[in-house]
Symmetry: D2
Subunit: 298 residues, 4 copies
């Protein structure tokens, strides 16, 4: 069965003229599929999944899975507000050839998303999922936290194989890891706390920054696993500012500009997201350049 391990990039969705730019995406995929990454996440938060129509989601999964086939595993973000739509997208992800699905918490009706309601949601989704299910905890965007208690309760479901925790509460991450049943893996949801998570027993991460620095992000984990802790830690430290720049500070617009700085296609995000301002682009370049990881020519 599919097992969560290593570094995944939650890939950006490129647009041109308002539509998904598949030719550009193909070239970007060539880069990521040829990198040290373990795999690809399509339609994660950084993939602007909430800005895609149902039809676009199906088409996008098909395209990415076809390109990645035989090269790297693909995890598809299929979480939706409605249980039915999530289940439907899971079936489509399986048809497309994805290896697992990543399911964010429904979040508009926050007040009603109690732990029992979330437990029921994930159980119904997992019961009907043809693919392994990964919980997706993203409190910054959803306003909801999947507690260690809830995650561990759901971890007993045979289809639920892990959690991507983007909350960054290191005690919660430790709680999940130490009480996880065999086979349930915890993934760091951001490059900023990757090393600390690995130190506690996380098996990898899904990192926005891995769109831009896939090999460097992967090296944090390979150094850690080789016992080269000092080097791993130093590399982690070197990545924090860049990570902050393409997440909290400038978000998806920043991520897309950063991708252009390494030679990928970035393009504009879908509205209401707005392209980065010129001055911010310059600041972003400086932050990235400080790492020394940008290609020479850029």
């Amino acid at each position: 069965m599919f097992k969560l391990h290593g570094i995944y990039a939650p890939i950006a969705t490129p647009f041109a003229g308002g539509e998904i730019a598949y030719d550009k995406l193909g070239k970007n995929l060539d880069f990521w599929l040829g990198s040290d990454l373990e795999g690809i996440v399509v339609m994660g938060s950084n993939g602007e999944f909430v800005l895609l129509s149902s039809g676009e989601k199906e088409e996008l999964m098909k395209f990415v899975c076809a390109r990645a086939k035989g090269k790297k595993p693909v995890i598809a973000g299929t979480g939706a507000e409605s249980t039915t739509e999530t289940i439907r997208l899971n079936a489509k992800a399986a048809e497309a050839g994805a290896d697992a699905v990543l399911v964010v918490t429904p979040n508009y009706y926050k007040g009603s998303m109690t732990e029992p309601v979330l437990a029921r949601f994930y159980t119904e989704v997992a019961d009907q999922s043809p693919l392994p299910v990964i919980l997706y905890n993203m409190p910054r965007n959803t306003g909801i936290n999947i507690s260690a208690k809830l995650a561990l309760e759901l971890a007993r479901h045979p289809k639920i194989i892990g959690i991507k925790d983007s909350g960054g509460n290191i005690v919660q991450i430790a709680d999940m890891i130490r009480n996880a049943p065999e086979g349930f893996c915890v993934f760091a949801g951001s490059a900023s706390f990757l090393y600390a998570s690995l130190a506690l027993g996380a098996t990898g991460g899904t990192l926005a920054l891995a769109n831009v620095f896939p090999n460097e992000c992967s090296r944090v984990q390979s150094l850690f696993e080789a016992g080269k802790l000092g080097e791993a830690r130093d590399l982690q430290m070197a990545l924090i500012d860049s990570n902050n720049a393409v997440t909290a500070r400038w978000g998806i617009p920043g991520l897309k500009v950063a991708m252009e700085m390494i030679g990928l296609y970035g393009g504009d995000p879908r509205p209401p997201l707005v392209p980065l301002k010129e001055a911010d682009r310059e600041d972003l370049r400086k932050v990235l350049a400080k790492t020394g990881f940008l290609p020479k020519a850029s």
Copy 2:
């Protein structure tokens, strides 16, 4: 031009067998359209709009507008995460015959929804809207607040005619009212602060509780406007517990059960929302009964 005034019910969407139950909805509409309500809001938060597909939204608007035609105005909730989808739904609302659109803040990318970004979103939406646009501030669900400053900036747009403020910050509501340009109206978004909002100059409200007690909610405003402040205030006080029961405490599942208690069709909400438990139904009945407003037979 359409002007925001009076009490609107943000109607619940009835489901049967997982699908929209149009026959039941028709009967519910007969009740609301024959009540003292000023109008109807379709696909508000209480209408489970985030759980409907794009196709269902179009169909639902058509059905409700056709039934309401010549009887009461209809406001359609068309806000979506994507600007394009919001604009598309606004066009469909106009085709269906709605009188105005209610547009919630995009909210998944909270960190990116700064005031300038929200200003741009609403401006683009209003520029292309065939119908008057009402801002929808719903911080409890979205994690985002439309500040008085932002609302007043947008109030200068000729198509933006008001705001439904469900946040309940009475100072913010006062700020909007006292600085609003001619023709921009402020609507209370909950029965719990309707009277206080009217006292400050709000022109009405869109109230979940108006699904259940449309005449009583409307009477708060008519008493207020007739200068019978003591009676208006007493009625307001009598509605607070019921309002809390069908909003914060039991949410949409509670609202649907409350509707059944006055003889309407409620039915189950769409998953992940779960039906009310038996014990909670009893508690809810007691809360509603205490008002003395339930029909005798129930």
Copy 3:
């Protein structure tokens, strides 16, 4: 027995050379005691009570009560983190001649300040208080909210006569008012929601802004009680910006500068609070001047 009614000023504590400037305070008191205010609150949040030593608190209460004697009632802020210290200060307030005490929630150990713990705290304090006790809800400073449920439970204690609610949650204020036992009064804790609170049945308020505009603040209530609602509402609206300036925006340093603008002694706050910058003073003057309530010469 003492009854909460009308507008109180929570007076600023003037310092000169780091010490309480009693001569300046005396002159300020002449102004407030000669105004339309109902009474005075000494050692409220605006009185920098947490920056005073126990000895200073005793001395300050004595001074203010002696000056106010026979003129206006004095409420003394005696809340401290420790129950024992609160009880001790209540005894001193009685000795000094205060009419009632205002007791803020202990707040450093937020996680331990559950409703039962707060209920026990206030009950112990009230049991041993020689003076009527007023609950003080100040979530912005304490991070703790006294819920309507807790307030109403405590309202049954014969010594507990009311609450000053500075939280501004108008639904909570309505909840307290409609369920309050005879004799338990609700006071607005800020000029920004005074009118809305009065409309719901509050009996007055303790308002930072009343240090600066005592007569105007008092007139909101007298107009309201005379049934001149439009005028009361307009005056309320005119006070919002000034209130914001001397509370949320510039805090105590702003309040002290505003006092200087009407001819009182303001002086510097105690460190760590810092005096207002020159540019902010100018902005503050403009905000206050816009009301038209500043004395002509200033």
Copy 4:
């Protein structure tokens, strides 16, 4: 100069009959001073410092420093709302023979505690402090966060030698560590994230749990420094539940009961804190017993 390294216990203050029980404290100190702990913190949050009078604080520092002299270093918690009082207590700490002072952020006037105001506070305090100053970041109690940016700005002050960060934001901790100037140390403020902090370069911690399990807490660090990472991590994991029990879950009352379970004197906390209920004591014993670290006889 004094350097922050190793595990410190922020010792509980024992009371009997409402007064500090110095005889009990003496015996408790014998235990801690004979343990593997690096040192002692007197009047930290767990020492109920906000419930002590100024006089008690001076006396308590003297007593603890006299007992610890020649055995282990003592850090004194001297933070107060007022700058002047903090400076005064720092002088008293030096007289008493403390090695450093721990200064929490003033926090009642949260809205005024901007970064420049906090910077000025700490600079004034450090300028006049005869002892090295340690910043104390305790957002759970204060509602205020000392950002990495502010900490690093203050780290340039020659008297400011480190920070105890109890917030547990591991990215913030990483940020401080990687940019800290030579000699500025970062201390974990809770046993729950000690290992993760050490992995990133923290030099130790001040841990409530070290009152109860001083040797086990110290062993996490000694194992880590000896390169026995697996053992250190396992021990960390074993301590999480106990730590949660004596911090977030049952707070100081729980800590005092836990102390009794290892043969120390606990006693009741000062009101408004309330003693643990009997049922909670049993639950706490189970949590602690699960570690296997309780003494056999208990």
